[in-house]
């Protein structure tokens, strides 16, 4: 069971808003890069987020670049899952490859600061503040098996190949 506070973002949160190109020089210094996570969407996010919290987006979360640094720094910030109405596909696959769950659900009624509880197995999000229950779409089986190992590198280390 994952538990934490919702940080609400809008539609079309691009990879440029998560880790902009102007910080390209920090990409081999991940702890430093992570201090800027989502900076251009919310400059206070990095200092307020606590381990376990959730990033909650609207439509088309993570659109843009293939830079895997985007889900990587979100995970490094301690975020336990990204919730969004829809997600760009490169970001989706990258997040799962980094062992960061991405849950597709109707996030419109989740408010910034709401306390959430996520049951990954049951596919349920409980908004404890609003007293509401949401269900999220199933993660495809291939991706679920990668997520269960903690990401693609761990998966390949274990199996040596794709076992689909």
């Amino acid at each position: 069971m994952l538990k934490g506070k919702a940080f609400k973002f809008g539609d079309n949160i691009s990879t440029d808003l998560i880790v902009p190109g102007r910080l390209a020089h920090l990409r081999s210094n991940l702890p430093e890069l992570a201090k800027h996570v989502l900076e251009d969407a919310d400059p206070t996010f990095a200092s307020r987020v606590k381990p376990g919290d959730f990033v909650v987006g609207g439509r088309n979360f993570g659109l843009g670049s293939s830079r895997e640094h985007a889900p990587l720094v979100i995970k490094m910030a301690g975020v336990s899952a990204v919730l969004a109405q829809s997600v760009a596909r490169i970001f989706f696959r990258n997040a799962i490859n980094q062992g960061l769950p991405v849950l597709i659900c109707d996030t419109t009624r989740i408010k910034d600061g709401d306390e959430l509880e996520v049951d990954l197995e049951a596919g349920v999000v409980r908004d404890l503040t609003a007293g509401e229950k949401l269900t999220f779409g199933k993660i495809p089986p291939v991706m679920l098996s990668i997520l269960k190992e903690g990401g693609l590198l761990a998966y390949i280390k274990k199996y040596g190949d794709f076992k689909l």
Binding site: A24, H25, G64, E68, N94
Partner: protein
């Protein structure tokens, strides 16, 4: 039941009867990274437990996103890429050689290939009939090591093109129009397959511009058939033997068909801060622009330099509008000089950058000031994209960019042609 181009290529490369929705493991023909995604990819490769690159001849490390390097940190990343290439025998494309996608199109990707790159605009090689797609560094690291990756076979949206562009309207206007129509997530994880009588008249450079931006609608790939014009393009680049014809089956199954009459299109502009926020250039007349940027994988080819020179040649850029030109490759730069396009643009007041990506993604060489607006021929106008979240980016064709550089405000190119 027939197959789409995506289904045909993924069937061929997986040995399975690949149909939309299936999960397949496909052989990968070409793998590449660039200098802002490559260091992470190579470190992940080293941590993966895989000891050898599957196919070093078909693995390329490009130094193009920060080239030449603006900082010691990025220079150190470049050292790492060079050392890895020396140790493993993979290919290295040096600073100044050009933008990865342009070199992939000129020299590397073949029709029918599966190409994976650690860069979202890898989709551009779809213009040659390659199943080419951007992936993150973990996926690319494993594809480098195993020579294969997994795909969900995408559903296909057929974009049926008819008619011909009217004067002043280009491939860029078409793709901006399409994205404006279906939205920045309108083709999420779909294959966009371009078809119709107009495709047979569309040059490969035009197709590359269109495929390049397929990802801006969320698409997995943007595929053109491989036809006689593809063969001519490959022959012109001294690799005619890489040609094979690829067409979808007549009875292929499409999720959706979108028809576009090219003759009805107008010069189109994407406004800040999303690519689907489109308007016509006419509607935006009067919008002041401090910087015009002509270049990138989307519109930095010889054909673009020719258009820009035809509009700006013998004239001067507007005094309040900087003009930056970045040819997409060394070959484009050399040809542009020989053809007189580059000298004409320099005389018109342009700053010519070395071939590379830096300005487009805000690393260096064209970062905007607070409140400034840039009209760019690139593919993205996200907030902060060109290095400053307090600035504004408009996207348009090379002709619209050149006309805007002349007038200092967004200008329909038909006014100056």
């Amino acid at each position: 039941m027939g197959k789409t181009i995506a289904e045909k290529i993924l069937s061929q490369k997986s040995g399975a009867d690949a149909r939309a929705g299936d999960i397949v493991i496909a052989q990968v023909d070409l793998v590449f990274v660039q200098d802002t995604t490559g260091p992470l990819t190579l470190r992940q490769f080293q941590q993966s437990g895989i000891t050898k690159v599957a196919n070093p001849e078909k693995t390329v490390l490009f130094i193009d996103h920060a080239a030449p390097s603006p900082s010691s940190a990025l220079s150190n990343d470049h050292i790492f890429l060079r050392q890895f290439a020396a140790q493993t025998g993979v290919r290295l494309s040096e600073a100044g050689d050009g933008v990865c996608h342009q070199i992939v199109a000129e020299s590397l990707a073949k029709p029918g290939d599966v190409v994976v790159g650690a860069d979202s605009h890898t989709v551009m090689a779809g213009g040659l009939g390659a199943f080419a797609t951007g992936m993150g560094s973990s996926d690319v690291a494993i594809a480098m090591g195993l020579g294969k990756t997994w795909f969900r076979v995408p559903e296909t949206i057929k974009v049926l093109l008819k008619g011909a562009f009217s004067r002043g309207v280009y491939a860029k206007d078409l793709i901006l129009h399409l994205i404006g129509m279906i939205g920045a997530d309108g083709a999420t994880y779909r294959s966009l397959e371009f078809a119709g009588e107009a495709v047979g008249r569309m040059s490969v450079p035009e197709r590359l511009t269109i495929s390049n931006m397929a990802v801006e609608a969320g698409a997995k790939v943007g595929l053109f058939p491989s036809d006689e014009l593809t063969r001519e393009y490959l022959e012109a680049h001294k690799r005619g033997r890489d040609y094979q014809p690829i067409f979808p089956d007549k009875d292929a199954v499409y999720e959706q068909v979108i028809e576009i009459d090219l003759s009805k299109l107008e010069p189109t502009v994407a406004k800040p801060h999303t690519v689907d926020n489109t308007a016509t250039a006419r509607e935006l007349k009067g919008t002041k622009i401090q910087q015009v940027f002509i270049g990138t994988c989307t519109n930095g080819r010889l054909e673009d330099l020719a258009i820009a020179a035809s509009i700006l040649g013998g004239k001067q850029r507007h005094p309040q509008t900087r003009l930056i030109v970045a040819p997409a490759s060394r070959t484009v730069l050399m040809e542009g000089i020989k053809m007189g396009y580059i000298p004409a643009l320099i005389e018109a007041g342009a700053i010519v950058l070395p071939p590379g990506c830096g300005a487009c993604l805000g690393v260096h060489q064209g970062v905007l000031g607070n409140g400034e607006a840039c009209l760019s021929t690139a593919n993205r106008n996200f907030k902060g994209r060109m290095g400053n979240p307090e600035s504004f980016i408009y996207l348009a064709s090379t002709a619209t960019a050149a006309a805007t550089a002349l007038r200092g405000e967004i200008t329909d190119p038909r006014e100056v042609m």
